[in-house]
């Protein structure tokens, strides 16, 4: 029982697939979306952590009743996490999945035809 495709001697030309225009488009779209978004949420998270860690006075400024800036920013982290999740899923469903499915079908056809 081997677990590795490359040991079972797959003859599919993955390098050609990788060079193909549709795969390059898929890769560009995927990385173009997830990299900036990952950088953005990490920056926002660490900005929040540093504020909570070093700007106590600012964070304890009361906004509404007993609700202060710190609590609002903390709840803001929840909101952005939920929002990014929803955004990514809708993007992946619309822009990534169709291309990926097309490439997969093409590959399976070539392999079956051999």
């Amino acid at each position: 029982m081997s677990n590795d495709a490359h040991e079972t001697g797959s003859t599919t030309d993955f390098e050609a697939t990788e060079r193909s225009e549709s795969f390059q488009k898929l890769k560009r779209r995927h990385r173009g979306f997830v990299f900036p978004l990952a950088a953005a949420f990490l920056l926002w998270y660490f900005a929040y952590v540093l504020l909570a860690d070093y700007a106590h006075e600012f964070m304890s400024t009361k906004v509404i009743g007993n609700i202060n800036v710190g609590l609002l920013l903390g709840l803001g982290q929840f909101v952005t996490t939920f929002a990014i999740t929803t955004w990514y899923v809708s993007y992946a469903n619309r822009k990534l999945d169709p291309i990926a499915a097309q490439i997969r079908t093409d590959l399976e056809k070539t392999e079956a035809g051999r």
Partner: protein, 534 residues
């Protein structure tokens, strides 16, 4: 009522707690037995036949992730330290975006059972598998020990068993139950236990949250005011726990790094992505997990401040289990012995489910990565690999019981944070490099994994959590030279740096054809194993 309860060092009625927990065990055992009927192949045992749906797996992930540390620990931390406890939960939640955006789907598409499947895909099989299995076992071991230690503390609070022998017996019973679940049920059984537990935990927390909010007229500001009245204005702002000195502030930055980058490198979380049939379902799993975990942490915010206002800091700290007793005491205050019984049963179920998930992950990694792929060079005798996995389950289970008994009374709260730090320093860099950096080499992977693992452990060994402080694990000696309690701020960048350095100094390049194959497979899901048919 509470005061007398604290004096007798137990709250509620132990037999109610035990019967509700007994009912949970009975129900889950039946489910596990039913689920285990189709456990035939490795894919069945390790990955539940890849037959779970995204929502089911997402719920199980929540069940796996919301450990006793996050439920009891975060409620207690908010009740005692106010806002600083809340900071923890935010790190635990935001971390899921790393898993969602960068890791989950690509891992699901490329691997079969373990993290090492992906990491060794285009690198030298044996050394990379051994390294990945090592970090997997270390992370699981630390996490497991923390959970078992938590079980001991819970016993004294909820069952009124205070002597060492009695507590050890209960730890042994919890461990034995876990072994039975994992042995019989494999990943399928473990998953169902986690799903049931997650549903109970979130429902229980929801009821208490609504209750606490109702007391405060469904006004968050009123609740905060009540908490500030009992605990002082400081509980509403950051700083009570981490803001004391410059060092403690830096320590928090270090912890925050480990929390946010560790989740996507936790082997028991990664393994859950293989229980669904496609990458799309893996994505749905994470979405469900994020919503459930996020909602749960919002509940803990209310529960923590609720416990702070209704019970008060002093009573919580005086109860057995101290910080961890905030949620159970609040349940007793609100709903009497019955609600306490439910919450205690949920707490035990939590430990059981998390320990089961860790054990099957560690056993799979040992049997699949070390035994089948390295010792037997990828050609084990038929059926032997699962046999080895089952034996490993028993050994790990016994180890967990002995460890759980051994660490009783020790201050091992740092172990969960350490598990996250190791996952972020040793696993995440190699995972990201292998998925996104074509040039990444075997040497880079080995340097990063062993360097990240070694530095995290060495730093913690010479930190104040082990020696030289009042709360240290070892008292009476002082050999610490690393000032922080969290190694992440050094070990995580080091893990990334070593992966880069090892790669650029490699003279041999990896096979570009396999790199292309991994690239294509990871993004398209071509060749990924689907659900098994029965």
């Amino acid at each position: 009522m509470i005061a007398t309860a604290v004096e007798t060092t137990t709250v509620g009625t132990p037999w109610i707690n035990i019967s509700i927990f007994g009912a949970f065990v009975a129900v889950t055992l039946i489910v596990v037995l039913r689920a285990s009927r189709n456990n035939k192949t490795a894919a069945d045992y390790y990955a539940a036949g890849r037959s779970f749906t995204g929502p089911q797996n997402g719920t199980a992930i929540a069940g796996d992730y919301l450990s006793a540390a996050s439920f009891l620990g975060i409620c207690g931390a908010i009740a005692i330290n106010g806002y600083d406890g809340f900071l923890y939960s935010i790190g635990f939640l935001v971390a899921w975006l790393v898993a969602l955006l960068l890791v989950a789907e690509l891992m699901r598409n490329t691997g079969k059972f373990t993290m090492a499947d992906v990491l060794s895909f285009r690198l030298a099989q044996r050394p990379v598998r051994v390294a990945a299995a090592t970090t997997t076992l270390v992370v699981c071991f630390f996490y497991l020990l923390a959970q078992m230690a938590g079980a001991g503390g819970l016993v004294s609070l909820l069952l009124g068993i205070n002597d060492r022998v009695g507590q050890s017996v209960v730890v042994a019973v919890v461990g034995a139950l876990m072994i039975i679940y994992v042995l019989i049920g494999g990943m399928k059984g473990t998953t169902w236990v986690q799903i049931i537990k997650a549903a109970l935990l979130i429902a229980g927390a929801f009821i208490m949250t609504v209750w606490v909010l109702a007391i405060n007229g469904f006004n968050l500001s009123t609740l905060l005011g009540a908490a500030a009245e009992t605990g002082g204005e400081a509980v509403l702002s950051p700083g009570l726990q981490y803001g004391l000195t410059d060092l403690s502030r830096l320590d928090f930055v270090s912890l925050a790094l480990a929390l946010v980058l560790g989740t996507a490198g936790l082997p028991h979380v990664l393994m859950r992505f293989y229980t669904v049939p496609t990458a799309r379902e893996a994505r749905r799993s994470v979405v469900w997990a994020i919503w459930l975990i996020g909602l749960f942490y919002l509940f803990t915010l209310v529960l923590g401040y609720g416990a702070g206002s209704l019970i008060g800091k002093e009573k919580i700290l005086a109860a057995p289990g101290a910080v961890n007793s905030a949620a159970p005491l609040l349940a007793f205050e609100l709903g009497g012995p019955v609600l306490l019984g439910v919450i205690s049963a949920v707490a035990f179920a939590t430990i059981l489910a998390v320990v089961a998930g860790l054990t099957i992950t560690a056993a799979t990694s040992f049997a699949h990565d070390i035994y089948a792929s390295v010792v037997k060079k990828g050609k084990p005798e038929p059926g032997k690999e699962i046999k080895v996995a089952r034996i490993t389950v028993v050994i790990i289970g016994i180890f967990a019981i002995l460890g759980g008994i051994g660490v009783q009374g020790q201050n091992v709260a740092f172990l969960v944070a350490l598990a996250f730090a190791v996952a972020a320093s040793a696993n995440l860099p190699t995972i990201l490099y292998s998925l996104f950096w074509r040039r990444f080499t075997t040497r880079g992977a080995l340097w990063s994994m062993y360097g990240g693992l070694g530095s995290a452990i060495i730093l913690i060994a010479f930190s104040p959590v082990v020696s030289g402080a009042e709360t240290s694990m070892i008292q009476g000696v002082d050999f610490h030279w690393f000032p922080l309690s969290n190694p992440g701020i050094i070990s995580i960048p080091l893990g990334f740096l070593l992966g880069w350095l090892g790669t650029v100094t490699s003279r041999t390049l990896e096979n570009p054809a396999i790199a292309s194959e991994m690239d294509v497979r990871s993004l398209t899901g071509h060749g990924a194993e689907g659900a098994t048919e029965h």
